[in-house]
């Protein structure tokens, strides 16, 4: 599935899903298993694992997909507890909250944000080269799991 592969590539990852187990409902994509494949009817509302949606030709990943990518080799930043909380509140990340960087440190690249338990909290864009000494705002929040609460509001 090209949009998913392309998205994973932006995070420095490679993902290969069985195309025969990906189903589309309008603009949303889902990953199913063989049991669900036997049972599913075309008028479903939701099925299996939600992968993401396409809106205005742009792919918006689900948190399940981000988690799948996080299990692979990819650009990742691990943040401290305080930064974790601020990030899920929608805030950007300051350099002092970063514990570890894996993969790209280059300005403009995308990276997953993980907590100290290696759980994926969302993804971000690197705002300036993380190799440098520069402190302050380092990573811009693109999407975080606090979205589950914001959807309900």
């Amino acid at each position: 599935m090209k949009p998913i592969k392309d998205f994973a590539r932006q995070l420095g990852a490679s993902i290969s899903l069985d195309e025969s187990l990906i189903v589309r409902k309008e603009n949303r994509y889902f990953l199913i298993n063989e049991s669900l494949k036997k049972l599913i009817k075309k008028d479903f509302f939701y099925v299996g694992t939600y992968l993401g949606k396409i809106k205005n030709d742009k792919f918006f990943p689900s948190f399940s997909l981000l988690e799948m990518i996080a299990e692979r080799k990819a650009n990742k930043i691990i943040v401290d507890k305080k930064t974790e909380w601020l990030f899920i509140c929608g805030r950007d990340i300051f350099k002092q909250g970063i514990i570890k960087v894996m993969g790209s440190k280059r300005k403009g690249d995308y990276t997953l944000i993980l907590n100290q338990h290696n759980e994926c909290l969302g993804f971000s864009k690197i705002m300036h080269n993380l190799n440098g000494e520069k402190s302050g705002l380092a990573v811009k929040n693109i999407s975080d799991i606090g979205d589950f609460l914001r959807r309900e509001a």
């Binding site: 049991s35 669900l36 939701y46 899920i88 609460l149």
Partner: protein, 296 residues
């Protein structure tokens, strides 16, 4: 026939003296996503005070928290769900859920669907139905947050479930009901006996449909958060008389359901159902049904 006095006098006739209670907030650890001990450690580190619910394997009452337990990263990562204690009971009454085909007939907002997936270890398949599209969106969010992988959700009225042309091993009927005063402060001023009777009729229609699509060795768990016998014991009496189903014994928290309702004597097997008066939990009723042996 409405108002607090009317309903409270009915509860007294059923053997319960009214008291105004507010059930404690409860959570349930999603063991598909975390080890219970790890989740407990993390909650303790967050200074959330909680205590084990004695009649639930994975349920905990929240005693004190400085912040909303629905706004922690552990919650957003699906390590636990917020689910009232009594509402955690119905899905635990099924025997063996792994690899089964399960119908959650009135599924939204999805707390019990997630719990089913947890008990099934994401195996088999859950077919989750709801009649309100907006509520299906809430269900979908829960499924995504809690990393449920074995569910197909349809926008469908439970009374039309046979249109799926499937037979089910397990059917959860957590039916739409009149609710109870413990979770709705305006309950007494909003509800009339007519609402109760209307809901009871809808519930019987859902039970009828479920009986049609239950496998011979299948199980139905029926639950409401209503205290009104029309939606509970009297509906089960109707089931025994009109559908080929029988009430099963179960090991479950709660009082034996009364079998004499407003001087009407009911089938004695109805005492195997459980009634929970508001107190430790909200008001609740639960019953397990199987096909009658002589009807197979």
């Amino acid at each position: 026939m409405s108002g607090k006095e009317f309903f409270v006098s009915r509860y007294e006739k059923l053997g319960w003296k009214y008291e105004n209670v507010k059930p404690k907030q409860a959570i349930r650890i999603n063991v598909i996503n975390t080890k219970k001990a790890d989740a407990i450690k993390r909650l303790q580190a967050s200074e959330i005070e909680f205590e084990k619910i004695p009649f639930l394997e994975n349920g905990y009452w929240i005693c004190h928290s400085k912040f909303s337990v629905g706004a922690t990263s552990e919650y957003l990562l699906g390590l636990y769900s917020i689910q009232e204690a009594a509402a955690q009971i119905p899905t635990t009454l099924f025997t063996e859920l792994k690899d089964k085909t399960v119908l959650d007939a009135c599924a939204a907002p999805g707390g019990k669907t997630v719990q089913l997936a947890d008990l099934m270890h994401n195996t088999g398949a859950i077919i989750a139905l709801d009649v309100k599209r907006q509520r299906l969106t809430a269900l979908s969010n829960q499924l995504e947050r809690c990393r449920v992988k074995n569910t197909i959700a349809y926008y469908m009225d439970a009374r039309q479930a046979s249109q799926l042309k499937m037979m089910f091993d397990r059917i959860l009927l957590d039916v739409p009901c009149s609710g109870n005063f413990a979770t709705d402060k305006d309950w007494f001023s909003r509800r009339t006996i007519k609402d109760v009777e209307k809901n009871a009729k809808l519930q019987r229609e859902i039970l009828t449909e479920a009986a049609e699509i239950l496998k011979d060795d299948g199980e139905i768990v029926y639950s409401t958060c209503s205290l009104e016998p029309e939606e509970n014991e009297l509906n089960i009496e109707w089931v025994i008389k009109n559908l080929n189903l029988q009430v099963e014994k179960m090991n479950c928290y709660g009082e034996k359901a009364p079998t004499n309702i407003f001087r009407k004597q009911l089938d004695s097997s109805i005492e195997n159902c459980r009634r929970m008066w508001p107190g430790q939990t909200q008001g609740f009723f639960v019953c397990k049904l199987k096909k009658r042996v002589d009807a197979l």
